[in-house]
Amino acid sequence: MELLGHLADGFATSLSPLNLFIVIIGVTAGLFIGAMPGLGSVNGVAIVLPITFIVPPASAIILLAAIYYGAMYGGAISSILLGIPGASTAVATTFDGRPMAQQGKAGLALIAAACASFVGGTISVVLFTLFAAPLADIALAFGPAEEFALVLLAFTTFVGLGGDDVLKTIIMICLGLALSTVGLDLISGQPRLIFFDEPGFYSGISFLVLAIGVYGIGEILYTIETQKTAPQVTPAKLTFTELWYGIKEINKLWKTMSLGSFLGFFVGMLPAAGATPAALMSYGIAKLTSKTPEKFGKGAIEGVAAPETANNAASTGSLLPMLTLGIPGSPTTALLLGGMVMWGLVPGPMLFIEQPDFVWGLISSLYTANLAAVLVNLALIPLFVWALRMPFTVLCSLVFVLCLVGGYAPSQKLHDVWLIVGFGVAGYLLRKADYPMAPLVLALVLGPLMEKSFRQTLISEQGNVLAFIERPISGTFIAISVIFFALPLLKHVKRWLKRDLSPAE
């Protein structure tokens, strides 16, 4: 019952007028960001992070988490009304959301998406509450060797499960890690990789600069080419009878929604997987287990509910390893982690001991954010319909300005603004050539931890490399990493063997 006590203390924090206000602002902003085609939770958090200096650190994290949450709800709005996913996480929602809208049931689809998101969010937050403290307890026993092994494990999930080109994934991981070493050597304090003798590089490359560059400027450059023509907005009206009917309909889908929630939560915890694959998997499972699979793709309400529960659950799931282990489960949580480090709240098991007020305040704020998001979502649907008609060039120009000013504000150096533009263009080109961006950002955030834990272990073990394998926990992590790393290789060998057997092809 210690848990309930903690949670009650947490609610005392999160229900304070300031934090309640912040949660509502956060989910509203998140809903708009999520609803805009091309902008998702990562972009929202990257662009908004620099301007969260306006509130105290704990509230800033609550604000960012609320934006993350809101964006997960918002993604469904443009999937349904425009037929374009508002964020990659809402791709699966277009499959049935769009047909429903075309049949004049846009309102019902929006209600289903919002309610399913609420269910997914709530179930996963309960799971989060149950798992957080025990996991942090286990992680307390971790030394530098285990930390290194865990970071390695996080990166190998990208190689084994990420689904992108393996060589390109490895390049992006190494690039992120190499960029994280710019500045002063962690152990000796000597300067290294000071490009062009530019003094700006002495303080290193902030994750924020890379994130704003890649997810702000780069993303908009990328959308400029995909959004040449303005999409058609389907009108949606909402009445109370419809709302009531929608809730009754959703009530019949408990099996689909609980499956989606559990699936989303656990898939979301993996750094390489996250909300998009979770939503697609949930859609697939809902179709498999449905009594009427032929209706899927033609406007089945389950087809909207299943992915929406899963992507919200996944966003909560990805917070779990970030908060308890200090290893983010998604690019967005990597940014949250970077922000927390910047504010002196270092995530990991010690946070649960040193800052219990903050940790439980954040956890309880997920409950309030979830409730606020569903209410704001349903109340503001007419506003979203209007906002989606906003010409894309207006949005782009404002995002560009926010990126430039937001990149300047934290350090107040124009050097960082130049880097943002550079990363934006480079990120755009790399993304166009199918290089994955998530491992790059994760690597830059985790790079210092990885290098420090690696070198600390070797110093304390007098240079014995086998120390990583000899310790049981870190040895297990390394073994799993090797398996993940070998997965794509095995696939390759299998394909190669097959080719040898059938030379006729």
Binding site: L167, I170, I171, L175, T393, V405, Y408, A409, Q412, L429
Partner: protein, 163 residues
């Protein structure tokens, strides 16, 4: 697409070599006294892996048949992206000299009126509203001063009024 893939991989190889060259300033090998790798080892060997992987991409592309003729850029998009990038570069270059309050509205005006072909009402509302918002949000509330360049003297009365 195949050519673009090779060009990008080649650029990554060049970047890796540049990183490696920089990393050799600190010891890249085993540091005998303290145990463990030296300060340059991490960036050096990571860049080496990057170099090998990018080399692998080029080698792989040589074996592939150039079957897809889909261009990496179509000329239309390339034009918009290049123009917007140039505009961004000019805006940032203007910031230290003319200040954020001239550079950013100029960018907005160009983007909305000329690039986006919007009407005067939308253009002027955003072009004039944004700097006012930025001033009150960043300078007055957060006490973060944006670069002003030669416009600095004109802000002194505003500072006196709001700080």
């Amino acid at each position: 697409m195949l050519t673009a893939d090779r060009v990008i991989a080649g650029a990554i190889m060049a970047l890796s070599v540049y990183f490696m060259w920089h990393a050799t300033v600190l010891p890249i090998g085993w540091n005998g006294e303290t145990g463990g790798p030296g300060g340059g080892a991490f960036p050096f060997w990571l860049s080496a892996i990057m170099f090998v992987c990018a080399g692998g991409i080029i080698l792989r592309s040589l074996r592939e048949k150039p079957s897809d003729t889909e261009p990496f850029f179509d000329s239309d998009t390339l034009r918009s992206v290049v123009i917007v990038t140039i505009a961004l570069v000019i805006t940032v270059a203007l910031m230290p000299w003319a200040g954020a309050y001239i550079a950013l509205p100029l960018f907005l005006f160009w983007y909305l009126k000329i690039f986006g072909k919007h009407g005067w009402v939308v253009t002027l509302a955003i072009t004039l509203g944004t700097p006012v918002f930025l001033f009150f949000f960043f300078e007055v509330t957060l006490k973060i001063l944006l670069p002003k360049g030669f416009t600095e003297p004109y802000f002194i009365p505003l500072y006196a009024r709001f700080f």
